[in-house]
Symmetry: C2
Subunit: 339 residues, 2 copies
């Protein structure tokens, strides 16, 4: 069975997905995983080829002209009208409305398309609505790439730790904050200095508030908490404190006592109560969460397996594409079985 | 479909499995995972009940009398004659011959039983023979518990990182060595002192050579390397150096330069060449492998997901039972699909 994909959003993640699908095509076919990308849409154009879009040329065109195609069909029309099996939604996260990703995903489900996404907005705002609609329509909905980039924390918890009761997850979900705190600790430099440096290196945005105020961490934590504990939290309900008030003296003091400071997202089940929040916290040196640089890490607390921690790069177009690819393969395997 | 299990070996791991199956029975049934343990064998006795062994009483009997049953049927006879679907092999590891586990597993395959095991010996000595026989007979063979206890490194690499090319794995696979090195570094104490302390705490055996000379690490690494890279290495072919010659001065010097020393097992693919070995190595502080205490950790190097590290407790009867349970659930899911 040949699966037909569309890619909606063709920025760095969308191009990363196209690059990986192109690079791995032969290998994936050998694994029995046969596919074709039949359409790509960006915010102002689209390119359709029901016999398979030439991905190399699509990436080249996008890089040279800024748009992927010319055809007069919008992303929503493409999702509705072009026959395909899986819609890959990789438009940028919008934390106010979740749009345009929210409409893309809802339209896909209404039209019988499975969805794989890296877009945090829709899931951090309207989790239950999306998950319920997918279920009602009998469609697959996977979003590993939303949380921690290449780090497969959702599938690890849901699949590999099956049989375990999950008591909580505590993690570092933002590479920019981790980079800033790691540099502040190792070089004993003030926050503003390291932030400028990170901005010059492209690790922090010119408006860093999304990262340093803990919004990004709260989005990921919300998606994780809703998934693992079957909740319907909006990220706006999550208490959060960022890293802007941390000074090098605090980091030095922590270090002298065998600790480091990290921006931590936590969700802990306490009987029927759920504690959830984002805050700078002391982490003992040598603890699996005391990772440096731009790494992400998540410690999963369970009844049998005790504490399992996974660490990986939280960002990067290939890393995100890896998570999307693993979701695509997982859906392909299930569909093969369901037929 | 009700699955019938036998448990072969009823020491701490076997009892842990029985305890977990008992504790989780109702919950697993709700997940559609219905089972019965129809026989348990230890080295000198067995207990059979085709309607389901009472696991609480079996554990109690073993703890009070030292044997699980009285019936005049050996483990091999039970595997052959008692109808069941999955044989859980949890006898102790024997690094010379792999016995009795090797015969148990071969007999199970010859008689059409799927196998889940935590027994490293057979797999580290006769990997290809076992895997080929399982394949030839169309049987499932899972052994996540062999490597790193609760840490699901095999299934993470094979399943969640599907689509990635694996370039190598570098890890800390022995909790005893990690405990000794961590204490030596933090307390600046000599090897012999910390070893005695670990022996008093039950973290190290009275004959510590299996751990401190790197044998246990080599066994786990061999199984991992054979699985990931489709090799047929015996652990006897793995170069290894243990931790007995490390002194606190080396650890202090490393620490002054931002490193710590860990006993590391590595397998790296270099074109067609495979580099494999066990040796003490410098690990940068803040690196995901710089975990302390009795923790295990494995860093998986890939082409897309970059470096993913998983950390967890490498030993413990519930932790090992967690890995076995996850393998059992995985087989149950596949069988449901295959029917």
């Amino acid at each position: 069975m040949k699966l037909r994909f569309t890619i909606v959003g063709f920025g760095s993640v969308g191009q990363g997905v196209a690059e990986v699908l192109e690079r791995k095509k032969d290998e994936l076919e050998k694994m029995g995983f046969d596919f074709e990308v039949v359409g790509i849409a960006d915010s102002s154009s689209s390119f359709i080829d029901e016999n398979g879009v030439n991905l190399v040329e699509a990436i080249k065109r996008k890089r040279e002209t800024g748009t992927v195609g010319k055809e007069e069909i919008t992303a929503i029309e493409m999702i509705k009208e072009i026959p395909h099996d899986i819609m890959i939604e990789v438009t940028p996260t919008n934390v106010e409305s979740g749009e345009p990703g929210l409409s893309h995903i809802l339209t896909a489900f209404e039209n019988g398309r499975h969805v794989v996404t890296s877009n945090k907005g829709p899931l951090a705002l309207h989790f239950r609505k999306l998950v319920s609609l997918a279920k009602e329509k009998g469609l697959h909905f996977r979003y590993e790439a939303c949380v921690g980039g290449a780090m497969p924390v959702i599938n690890l918890t849901k699949e590999l730790l099956a049989g375990n009761e999950i008591k909580g997850i505590v993690g570092i979900f933002n590479g920019t904050c981790n980079y800033i705190l790691t540099r502040m600790a190792s070089e004993q430099l003030p926050y503003e200095h390291v932030l400028s440096e990170a901005q010059e290196l492209g690790i922090a945005e010119m408006d860093p508030s999304y990262d340093v105020e803990g919004i990004d961490t709260a989005l990921k934590l919300t998606i994780l908490a809703n998934t693992i504990f079957d909740l319907n939290i909006s990220f706006k309900d999550v208490n959060r404190k960022g890293i802007t008030e941390i000074n090098p003296e605090a980091l030095i003091l922590a270090q002298e006592h065998g600790y480091t400071i990290k921006l931590v997202g936590y969700v802990l089940k306490n009987g029927d109560k759920i504690d959830i929040g984002v805050s700078p916290m002391l982490v003992p040196l040598g603890h699996p969460l005391s990772v440096g640089g731009t790494l992400n890490a998540a410690a999963i607390y369970t009844d049998l397996a005790s504490e399992i921690t996974i660490t990986g790069k939280g960002a990067g177009s290939l890393e995100t594409a890896s998570a999307i690819l693993s979701d695509l393969i997982s859906i392909a395997r299930s569909l093969r079985v369901e037929k």
